[in-house]
Symmetry: C2
Subunit: 221 residues, 2 copies
Amino acid sequence: MAKIGVILSGCGVFDGSEIHESVLTLLALDQMGASVKIYAPSVPQKHVIDHFRHKVVKGEERNILEESARIARGAIQDITEANMAHLDAIIFPGGAGIAKNLSTFSEKGPQCTLLPAVEDLIADAFRQEKVLGFMCLAPLLAVKAAVNIGRVPLVTLGNDPEMAKAVTMMGGKHTLCPATEVVIDKKNKIVTTPAYMLAKSISEAEVGIGKLVQTVLSMIS
Amino acid sequence: MAKIGVILSGCGVFDGSEIHESVLTLLALDQMGASVKIYAPSVPQKHVIDHFRHKVVKGEERNILEESARIARGAIQDITEANMAHLDAIIFPGGAGIAKNLSTFSEKGPQCTLLPAVEDLIADAFRQEKVLGFMCLAPLLAVKAAVNIGRVPLVTLGNDPEMAKAVTMMGGKHTLCPATEVVIDKKNKIVTTPAYMLAKSISEAEVGIGKLVQTVLSMIS
């Protein structure tokens, strides 16, 4: 049974993990017989967004691990507990939490840094030749962590020219991909899919995410 | 194209809508070609639960509509905007929000009352002979609203003797049902499934929820 870590960044598309992408990832993994552990960092979110009015809620603070625990139904651990020696692959759903909570991309763009525990986990996965899956905005993390250890990763973030440019500026390679397909970087064992960067419906997102999970599982040696 | 209202009660199994059930409902509806509108009441949650430690967070207040908007990716309306004349069916995912936010069941048990906007919407659906779907804890709402207009509804809440007893005490009929099946009350056009009252995995929940959505859609005249 493949052992997969799923890394969350909060609970909500505008300030955390995209909820549909997270749930569809857990669904596909369970349907395909994988064993899943869910992790998130126990640090404050960048901010809290009122998802009804799409506005920052001033003065409110939420913890990424506590909010991610909502998606995990409580079955979640601090990311500092994640150890690539005990995992076959890691998968990152998207959402603004990628750029706001797991990295400083929302403020610094291509000059961003990653949360150290996240960067360490991804770098460990690369070094141990484990498989890595990233959807939506999450490939930004793959690019930064890979380049920082001297690799040139190939990813997709859909078809947004700004995002493609950011990937190139960070030192990675970007390729176009529809929401229902995946991009595979065989050398670095990275699988990416655009999910809600492009998907116009939850069914469309489900197709691409299902393919990502299937591809990640198929690449585990 | 069938027009379905999905009613949420927050964002998280312990203080709002169960997230997996909500997302799997939206997925099945989209896959089966339904048009979906999502609604929630704009009132405070009963309380906020830290889903990592499973403890009440003292002094914190969250609004049901704003939190539900996380699951809806912002595409949500106040439940007072919902009008059964423009909907073919309504579906309620479960989660503790059913007993804590949409009703007073968590405090008062069978003597509970429903949030007036929720009770009015369900009663309108019964009177207009629309189809109603309820999963997990949500059948409690169906029973209370149906009995209050002189009906005797048949539902399932899985196999918990306490919940079966509560249904009977409220004036409804309860029947056992596995997580992968649905119970149909043809006369009152109610479809129920246990979802996470019984499901041991997200895949198992998905089977029952898929059947509920399919059955609801098939019963629309």
